[in-house]
């Protein structure tokens, strides 16, 4: 499959899709819509194949055929979910959903409690056990973490009216949140640009002779398409104007 023709074809398809999707930045257009709808189908198709060969066949069908008949229970529970689409018997899907929810809630509860609650409270207090051997800088940092976390929690605590000391603490909490969100924005810039770099880097690769100059040719064709549409739209507008005048 990986001969030069399939590579060239792949390069053209890849570059074409990428440029069509980017064309939305100029304005909404049919090329973008085609690529966008293709994405929905391809994404679902990919997921379907991965599940078929990664889960349904090896984890349900094959073991069942080898005598693990109890597996009919999860299969039926799974199939029950699909009754959502048949209003008359949609209640059957509750069997599948309650199984998923019960399992998820039971599993998540103690783990979240241990990792994101107890361990975090412990992590805030524990450093102060070594207060005697702490430098002034370390103490300030650990104090800021503890005080900041309490202030942020105060900000999210709505059961009490925010006035007096609570208001002050909650206001300090906002500043901690602002630093966090500002830093997050800074990192978001890097993250988003990294993804764009990935696409531009790929387009640059596809602009070479190995891919029969896919990128420049498709960009040129897309520009021609927009120019043609622009002229056609103008003409259409001209005809409508004349017709109205007449």
């Amino acid at each position: 499959m990986e001969n030069s023709l399939s590579v060239i074809l792949g390069g053209w398809l890849s570059a074409g899709i990428t440029i069509f999707l980017f064309s939305f930045l100029y304005k909404d257009n049919p090329l973008f819509k085609i690529a966008e709808h293709l994405y929905l189908g391809v994404g679902m198709g990919w997921w379907f194949i991965v599940l078929l060969y990664g889960t349904w066949i090896p984890k349900a069908y094959e073991p069942f055929m080898q005598g693990e008949y109890l597996l009919i229970i999860p299969v039926l529970l799974g199939i029950s979910l699909v009754t959502q689409f048949i209003p008359r018997i949609s209640w059957v899907s509750r069997y599948g959903f309650t199984f998923i929810m019960g399992y998820g809630a039971g599993l998540v509860l103690p783990l979240n409690l241990a990792t994101d609650f107890m361990a975090q409270i412990g992590g805030t207090i524990k450093p102060f056990a070594a207060i005697a051997s702490m430098s002034a800088g370390e103490f300030i940092n650990y104090f800021l973490i503890a005080a900041g976390a309490v202030c942020v929690l105060t900000y999210f605590y709505f059961s009490v009216e925010h006035k007096g000391f609570i208001k002050k603490a909650s206001n300090i909490g906002i500043y901690f949140l602002m630093i966090y969100f500002g830093a997050s924005f800074g990192n978001t810039v890097m993250a988003r640009f990294s993804l764009l770099y990935g696409r531009f880097d790929m387009l640059y690769d596809f602009s070479g002779a190995r891919y029969a100059f896919a990128t420049p040719v498709i960009i040129l064709l897309t520009v021609c398409f927009f120019v043609y549409r622009h002229i056609a739209d103008k003409k259409k507008a001209g005809i409508t104007k004349t017709a109205k005048a007449e």
Partner: protein
Amino acid sequence: MKDRLRRFLNIDRRWLFLLLSVVMIWPIIHPSGIAGRTTQQSVKDFYDFIENLKENDFVILGVDYDPSIKPELQPQAVAALRHLFRRNVRVCILTFISGAPGLIEEIKQTVPQEAGKEYGKDYVVMAYNPNYMAAMTQMSIDFYKAYEKDAEGNTVKGMPVMKGINTYRDMAGVVEITGTGMLDAWVAYVGDKYNVPIIGGTTAISQLGYGPYLQNRQLLGLLGGMRGGSEYETLTGRKDKATSGIDALNLSHMLVIILILTSNIILLVLKEKN
């Protein structure tokens, strides 16, 4: 003057898009070659963790991202796998993200060959599993009930790479590369509960959220986004896609700062004139 400034503030955003395109494409064609000057502590910790693994240790490498965030995370996964292979550690690649198997295949076609590693003996790739909670808890009881067959349909039990491996107790750690909450799941369901060392690689967006885990040593090392990837590549001595990537981001980052400052200065000027 005022009107001009106002008009400039309401400039058609497509000019900004064009400007960004230019400052992104230019360094791809002409890399600046400016080297990063620092290494974050969490990156050093990530590197040291792998560096301190013993020969023939067994490690899970979670590749949990799809093509949408590939440029940020694939370089991290590639560099981590190379590093693990260099340490002669056995690697089991897993995924709980449906879009990842294709990316794992891309890695599998290049990295093991370079390192002279053999499938089934030095590493193995498991099939996609849609439920991470189930798989993670199952591996603590019996690995082979979570993964009976690999991604190619071969029976896993009995493969040389799996020798002596039954549960987390037999593993040296987990390296999780992800842009989802999967790293949190490894920390909660595996790291904290079964005392398994966890290190991770994540997107820049998620990086800050792992601060509390790092401070508590619930997470022993972290690579954050392209910068983390490039610093890690420098430590491993093999610069690759993350290094060229971060180089390409120089100008665009400056552009964002200039845009924020410009618009706010214009607003200030307009306000004063009013």
